[in-house]
Amino acid sequence: MKVTIKEWNAVAAWRWDMPDDDVCGICRNPYDSTCSKCKFPGDECPLLLGECNHSFHMHCIYSWIRQESSQEKCPMCRQPFKSKSQTAATATPTAEGQAQEPTTSPL
């Protein structure tokens, strides 16, 4: 028997490589969701991991750091907040059905 595929639709899902139930400590939205100001999650509203290993939506932590009173400290541990890498995390889409765990590029 020969089967001819006439049409197929690929569906992809992504998520940040972060613990499932974790939320951004500032806006309390899940990491996979957006900060309070954005509409679309993903590259438009990335996460930022600090050297102290605390992460936030980039927009959330920027709003905080911009405040003089923050003294540029991490809201969690009050260490000076420094991004682990200069570039924010980027999401990598993975096709559904593949065995591979969804991954993101290293932070």
């Binding site: 500032i26 309390r28 939205n29 309070s36 709003s63 905080w64 405040q67 009173s69």
Partner: protein
Amino acid sequence: MFASKRLGKELQKLHEKLPPGITLIQADDLKEWLMDIQVVDSNPIYQNEVYRLKFMFSPDYPIQAPEVVFVADETHPIPWHPHVYSNGIICLDLLDRQGWSPVHNVESVCVSLQSMLTSNTKKERPPGDENFVKHNKQRPRDINFVFHDNQV
């Protein structure tokens, strides 16, 4: 708008579950909430009393700290504490610009104030209370408190 989404989430959680001695009284809008706190252990200074807290949020909450004061009425006195003025203004570093962090929330502030009372042994007002209460026209967030006492 930061505050509305975050406060909405907090409210949902407050409706589900609250630590002992903490009660949500009013949260009709996203500007001003009322919470009641009680000291749950047997500290004699606070026996059988309920204190009412008023939270005021700016549109930038939680980037900006909420303003939190005790409010008095017939059934709710202002608790005795060396850091609580008799007009309800609270001197606590975590509510001040320098001590606030956006990971705090209404519940954690209530718990901190509850534990501040629980551990207190002095039935006192802050030094200069009478003068401060008489002359202070500033909002809590505009007062520059000096934090010198790390005991309470």
